[in-house]
């Protein structure tokens, strides 16, 4: 079985602070981590590898320093790592990103692609599903559990109401949730070996995609405005009948000098 896991290096948003004047993220000194949903996805792939044997390739698109997150994946047990890095990829929105990743994956042999549901720095949850569309393969999103049974991937898909159990044959793509499984720690020997294994560096000329579809040129998304959401006090909840509620509302509005 050959599995490709898409991972992303993200700033640790639990440690991020916002500049109160400009309203932008202060990125200096914020550690970079493997996106949690992607780490969950890598763990699921490694569990399939442990149980049935598989070759796990991790791929990311990013600046040269994204090498670190790939080495972390190698130290956890991934077999191969590919870094898509090229100025031509810069300024990519989700569409251009998924085009680049799909273009790279198209040149590989694989049975399953795993992507995290969404990245904590963007929260779009678009890249995984878009890759599946570009490659024209079935996809299941919000996967919390993954098993291999009778040549099919059997997954537990989370929904708002509960979950669905679905089976899908490869080749296919799954987007997974970090909560699905606790990721293993890197292993000491794995860390030593991760620095002895190569990370393949691929530029735009190495993948099968029209350059017009990459980077800023291939990104239809335009950011209109960025702002910091103001803080609001928690409201008060009254569980009373309608007549009494009217009285409370009027007195509250008067209290605030609105009426």
């Amino acid at each position: 079985m050959k599995i490709v896991v898409c991972i992303k290096q993200v700033p640790d948003t639990t440690e991020i602070k916002i500049n109160p004047v400009t309203g932008t993220l202060i990125r200096e000194g914020v550690p970079s981590i493997m996106n949690p949903d992607d780490k969950g996805g890598l763990e699921m792939a490694l569990r399939l590898k442990d149980k049935y044997g598989a070759e796990v390739t991790v791929i990311t698109m990013g600046p040269p320093q994204a090498d670190l997150v790939l080495r972390e994946a190698l130290a956890m047990g991934a077999d191969k790592a590919i870094l898509l890095t090229d100025r031509k990829f810069a300024g990519a929105d989700t569409l251009a990103t998924s085009n680049a990743l799909a273009g790279a994956i198209r040149t590989l042999k694989w049975d399953l692609i795993i992507a995290g549901r969404q990245a904590i720095d963007g929260d779009t949850a678009q890249v995984g599903p878009q890759i599946a569309e570009h490659l024209d393969v079935p996809q299941i999103s919000y996967v919390a559990d993954l098993e291999w049974d009778n040549n099919r991937f059997v997954v537990k898909k989370e929904t708002e109401e509960g979950y669905q159990r679905l089976a899908v044959a490869g080749p296919c793509l799954l987007t997974v949730l970090a909560s699905g499984c606790k990721a293993r720690y890197m292993n000491v020997r794995g860390i030593v070996e991760a620095y002895q294994k190569p990370v393949e560096i691929w530029g735009a000329d190495r993948i099968e995609v029209d350059e017009e579809k990459l980077g800023l040129k291939g990104s239809p998304t335009r950011v209109a405005k960025a702002f910091t959401k103001g803080l609001k006090q928690a409201g008060e909840v009254f569980e009373v009948d309608a007549e009494e509620a009217v009285g409370i509302i009027i007195s509250k509005l008067k209290e605030k000098f609105i009426i």
């Binding site: 670190l68 080495r71 890197m186 000491v188 860390i191």
Partner: protein, 369 residues
């Protein structure tokens, strides 16, 4: 990346148990199993013997990060790696290495070291334990005390007198397995600090081990012991460094939160200046420790470097933890906060694997040789 991994493990798996194992004086077997899975018990050992293929800098970082949250856990790894795995790797025959190292490195077997005796502490040459060759077996008799990991270790590197007439050159080293008849673990010590670590007596009562379990040359034991302790000092200096850094981290957090006279303790210049001095000492310890580890990795002489690292890191740990308790005030004296435990844990680093006085002897010995 390595530090990040160990720190994450230490914060999530080791820290939550630190107060409990101290309170109950309980050996953290569950943590040992988890550390084994991560390969923490064979960090500087080459992969051909089942190790991680790392180096002594990595090993030092690991002991530091574990000790930052729990001094006990740090010494379990240090005693195992520096005092048992290392001498077998450095002085063992190929057969001994193949037999013991893979299981020690995987953590399946824990290791320990038996040198100290009731009448042979700092004067380690006054060994009273004896080993006599009878046919194909060595017969060991005597007692060892204050042995870290005793009772939980499977492999013990033990020193005994094989020819009393030769004095120091009559001491030899042996490998003893825990299930050998005639070997037993005696009284467990009740201690001030590192209370989760198992410290006990080893008893050899006509303990017969195979002739091949002699480690190194006959009569070469004292040299092995001294060389082993040089390496051990890198481990203990790392432990002291970790305890000191842990106390600094706790104190920074506390002094930022705690308000008196209308402002945070950290806003007082007295706090800032004292903390700045302490952090400078901690960083100096770190550089001394890593320098000694680096020299060991490079195959250079590092005996005095290890002694300086241990001396300075241990005394810094004692000073930092004592002041950390002071900064915490009454709360620091209670078990609500970890700094009192850190202060108790720090004290042993000035004593074991050579007291601070012994370190000064080693350093002065190099100066005036």
């Amino acid at each position: 990346m390595f530090r990040q991994m160990i720190r994450e493990f230490a914060d999530k798996e080791v820290k939550p148990l630190a107060a409990e194992i101290d309170e109950q004086e309980r050996f953290p077997m569950e943590t040992v199993k988890k550390m084994a899975e991560l390969g923490i018990f064979g960090i500087p050992l080459p992969t051909e013997y089942g190790g991680a293929g790392g180096d002594n800098i990595m090993y030092s970082i690991a002991v530091e990060e574990l000790s930052r949250v729990c001094g006990t856990t740090g010494v379990v790894v240090s005693a195992h790696t520096s005092l048992c795995l290392a001498p077998i790797f450095e002085h063992g025959t190929e057969e001994q290495k193949r037999k013991y190292l893979p299981k020690l490195a995987s953590g399946e077997w824990l290791g320990a070291f038996g040198l100290t005796e009731p009448n042979a502490g700092t004067d380690a040459s006054a060994q009273q334990t004896t080993a006599v060759l009878e046919g194909d077996e060595w017969v060991l008799n005597g007692n060892k005390i204050f042995i870290t990991n005793a009772g939980y270790a499977h492999v013990y590197v033990v020193f005994a007198m094989t020819d009393k007439s030769k004095g120091v050159k009559g001491i030899s080293a042996f490998i003893v397995e825990a299930d050998t008849p005639g070997f037993s673990v005696g009284k467990k010590e009740l201690k001030l600090g590192i209370r989760g670590s198992a410290t006990a007596e080893l008893i050899f009562d006509n303990c017969r081990i195979p002739k091949d379990n002699l480690l190194g040359k006959l009569g070469g034991g004292f040299g092995i012991a001294m060389k082993t302790l040089d390496g051990g000092r890198v481990g203990i200096a790392s432990q002291a460094l970790g305890i000191a850094q842990g106390a600094m981290d706790e104190t920074v957090r506390y002094t930022k939160e705690r308000k008196q006279f209308g402002k945070s303790l950290s806003a007082f210049q007295n706090t800032q200046f004292q903390m700045a001095d302490l952090q400078t000492k901690v960083e100096a310890s770190r550089l001394l420790v890593r320098s000694a580890a680096f020299k060991k990795d490079m195959g250079q002489p590092y005996s005095a470097d290890a002694a300086m690292a241990k001396l300075f890191a241990a005394e810094t740990a004692m000073e930092v933890t004592t002041k950390a308790v002071q900064f915490h005030g009454g709360y620091g004296y209670t078990r609500e906060y970890p700094v009192e435990r850190m202060m108790r844990d720090a004290k042993i680093t000035e004593i074991y694997e050579g007291t601070s006085e012994v370190q000064r002897m080693v350093i002065a010995g190099k100066l005036f040789k």
